[in-house]
């Protein structure tokens, strides 16, 4: 299949909206869709890294340090990639996503500290901080629903 770039698709839709609807609303939705398309891959990578880290922690027996280190490293990298596409086109959305990024950042730091100290409390912090981060992403979803009339 021939790839069709997002820019092409969105510019066509934007042109159509310009012909039929209010300019400001069309621009906002197109910008938002464009941002979501860029952020979605990083978000997916974050969720995958989190899932893998949790699986390692939850597995009975001794924690596999190498696997956990890899997962936490991946979480850090994906989070930095998400940071690179900030801000979002919407200020409220930016606040929630930025808070999620900050929490994921602290979570991966806690994970790294666990390897230095072997302190289980650091793992608990990792768990709490990433859960807080997820709550901010859920709040971001609530904002997205409000910004998407057809949702």
């Amino acid at each position: 299949m021939q790839p069709v770039s997002i820019a092409f698709a969105t510019s066509v839709a934007a042109a159509a909206m310009l012909a039929t609807g209010p300019v400001a609303a069309a621009t906002s939705q197109t910008d938002l869709a464009d941002w979501l398309s860029r952020a979605a891959l990083h978000i997916e990578a974050i969720h995958k890294a989190e899932s893998e880290a949790y699986s390692v922690i939850a597995r009975p027996g001794r924690i596999d340090d190498d696997k956990l280190k890899t997962s936490c490293g991946q979480l850090h990298d994906a989070n930095e990639a998400l940071r690179s596409v900030m801000p979002t086109p919407n200020p409220q959305l930016t606040v929630e996503v930025q808070q999620a990024i900050d929490n994921f950042d602290s979570a991966s730091e806690s994970c790294a500290e666990y390897f230095g100290a072997g302190d289980d409390a650091k793992l608990n912090n990792f768990w709490l901080l990433s859960r807080d981060a997820e709550q901010h992403l859920s709040s971001a979803d609530t904002i997205l629903v409000g910004l998407s009339p057809s949702k």
């Binding site: 299949m1 997002i6 698709a9 839709a13 398309s37 709550q135 998407s148 057809s150 949702k151």
Partner: protein, 507 residues
């Protein structure tokens, strides 16, 4: 959707959990009689009407006080809700429920953003949820600057997070988004009074579905105009309430990762939750009391249960490429003599009005997709996370199911002899989209060599869209049935049956 690696075991599935019939309580399948469809313009024998839903101005004050509350608006709304729910159950608690109604002992409020709070002897920090506590333990204030009280007994109490959960619920679902959470938790208290014993995962599942059912019984009372505190419209009000209800997972009173994982599996699918709620709303207490392990097993049939997919988020990037891939998959599962063309242009269609996100034009045999709107509709930042927070439920299949439904209009168009522009068409379309959804539970290999299939949460994402925007159940002009129960029923009917059933039930 999931990408499935070739030459590996198929890990994708779809949560196919409930039966297909107008009254979900009767088991059915293809071989059984085709039951008449529900009235598309009525809910519980009442015309579907939009209107005010929420706290009635000048409502009577709460009859209950809240422990460790902050005296704010959210705690007051929650106290009003529990007071109203108790007023209802005081009059409604009767046979076949065993025993007598007795109000819960206490109400407890916490803020999940603060540390060291406890509800039901479990940490409340980072736990945005609401609970019924059936055991003797402790409820303790959190680390706010001035903790106002000591720990108290948690036995037979209801608790909620006023800091994150209830404000989120109110933001998404209005006042009734908060009330339905507490109606569900109170449903657990009613179960205890009625003697349901929660002892294992299977009975927990029964417990969750009964609680949704009891919430439905109470909400019917509100929709009937009998509550002095709240109103619920049978149109947009009910729809919004169901949309937020399916976004809430089980009460997780634990921070143990493995335990949390396990408990996720107890949480019913959106289908199950809406069905259980509808049982109570339509048929009252007796229908809830009749929910047991056998009844659930019968409803689920032989279909696989939803599961957590390790290493997969289940979310597929929504893009022109993935839209093309979906249409290619549909062509394989529903081959047509003249496959419809996918266009990203908002082309003029002489006989149909454009739909909000994707349209089908019979005369040009074209599906026009508005990609930015589809991306907005189906891209969630939280979906696919191992522990999704409390918020709206939507994801890639919310958008892809809309696109699939437009292909199903092409299927109907080429079958011939069917009108494409009425309510029946919309419901038939939702049913056929359900048939596709089931078929797509198995991986399909496309021309690029990739293999894709639905993931565990996709069915819920489709149901969420059917509730919130109804586009999957839209006819060629995008018009859909007013009754939210009829829309979900049509989709469910397709998920659990076949094309013939769709054409027979909605001729």
């Amino acid at each position: 959707m999931n990408r499935v690696l070739r030459a590996t075991v198929v890990v994708a599935s779809v949560a196919l959990l409930v039966l297909a019939c107008s009254k979900p309580s009767a088991a059915t399948h293809v071989a059984g009689p085709i039951l008449p469809p529900p009235n598309p313009s009525k809910v519980a024998d009442k015309p579907v009407e939009d209107g005010f839903s929420g706290l009635v101005p000048g409502a009577p004050p709460p009859t209950r006080t809240v422990q460790d509350g902050d005296g704010g608006e959210i705690d007051n709304l929650a106290a009003l809700a529990v007071s109203d729910i108790e007023q209802f159950w005081t009059g409604a608690y009767a046979s076949p429920l065993k025993g007598k109604f007795a109000p819960v002992n206490d109400l407890f409020s916490y803020d999940s953003r603060y540390k060291n709070g406890m509800f039901c002897a479990a940490d409340t920090h980072g736990v945005p949820n609401a609970f019924y506590c059936p055991v003797k333990g402790t409820n303790c204030p959190d680390d706010r600057p001035s903790p106002p009280g000591e720990c108290t007994n948690s036995y037979n109490t209801i608790g909620w997070d006023r800091g994150v959960l209830l404000p989120e619920q109110r933001s998404s679902g209005g006042d009734m988004g908060v009330v339905v959470v507490l109606a569900h938790e109170y449903g657990h208290a009613v179960q205890r009074m009625a003697g349901l014993e929660i002892k294992d995962q299977a009975s927990q599942t029964v417990g969750e579905q009964q609680a949704d059912c009891y919430a439905g019984v109470y909400m019917r009372w509100v929709a009937d105009g009998k509550s002095k505190r709240f109103k619920l419209s049978t149109g947009d009000g009910l729809t919004k309430l169901l949309s937020v209800m399916i976004g809430i997972s089980d009460s997780l009173v634990t921070s143990e990762v493995s335990e949390t994982m396990k408990r996720r599996l107890v949480h019913g699918s959106a289908f199950e939750r809406v069905t259980a709620f509808q049982f109570g709303f339509d048929d009252g207490v007796a229908a809830c009391a009749a929910i047991d392990q056998n009844e659930i097993k019968q409803r689920r049939g032989n279909l696989p249960k939803e599961f957590v997919e390790e290493g997969q988020t289940g979310e597929y990037l929504i893009s022109p490429d993935s839209a093309k891939t979906l249409i290619e998959v549909m062509g394989k599962l529903f081959p047509l003599a003249k496959p419809p063309q996918l266009s990203f242009d908002p082309a003029f269609c002489p006989e149909a009005r454009p739909n909000p996100t994707a349209s089908y034009c019979p005369s040009t045999n074209t599906i026009a997709a508005d990609m930015p709107k589809l991306i907005l509709m189906g891209t969630s930042l939280a979906r696919g996370a191992p522990f999704q927070g409390t918020g709206p439920l939507f994801g890639d299949y919310t958008a892809f199911s809309v696109l699939a439904s437009r292909y199903m209009l092409a299927v109907q168009s080429q079958r011939g002899g069917l009108p494409l522009d009425n309510t029946n068409t919309g419901l038939r379309t939702a049913c056929l989209t359900g048939v596709f959804t089931t078929k797509f539970a198995k991986p399909v290999t496309v021309a690029s060599g990739a293999s894709i299939a639905l993931s565990g949460g996709d069915l819920d994402e489709a149901v969420s869209g059917i509730l919130s925007n109804g586009q999957v159940a839209g006819d060629v002009n995008g018009q859909s049935a007013a009754s939210v129960f009829a829309r979900v029923d049509a989709f469910r009917s397709g998920v659990l049956s076949d094309e013939d059933t769709c054409f027979k039930r909605w001729p």
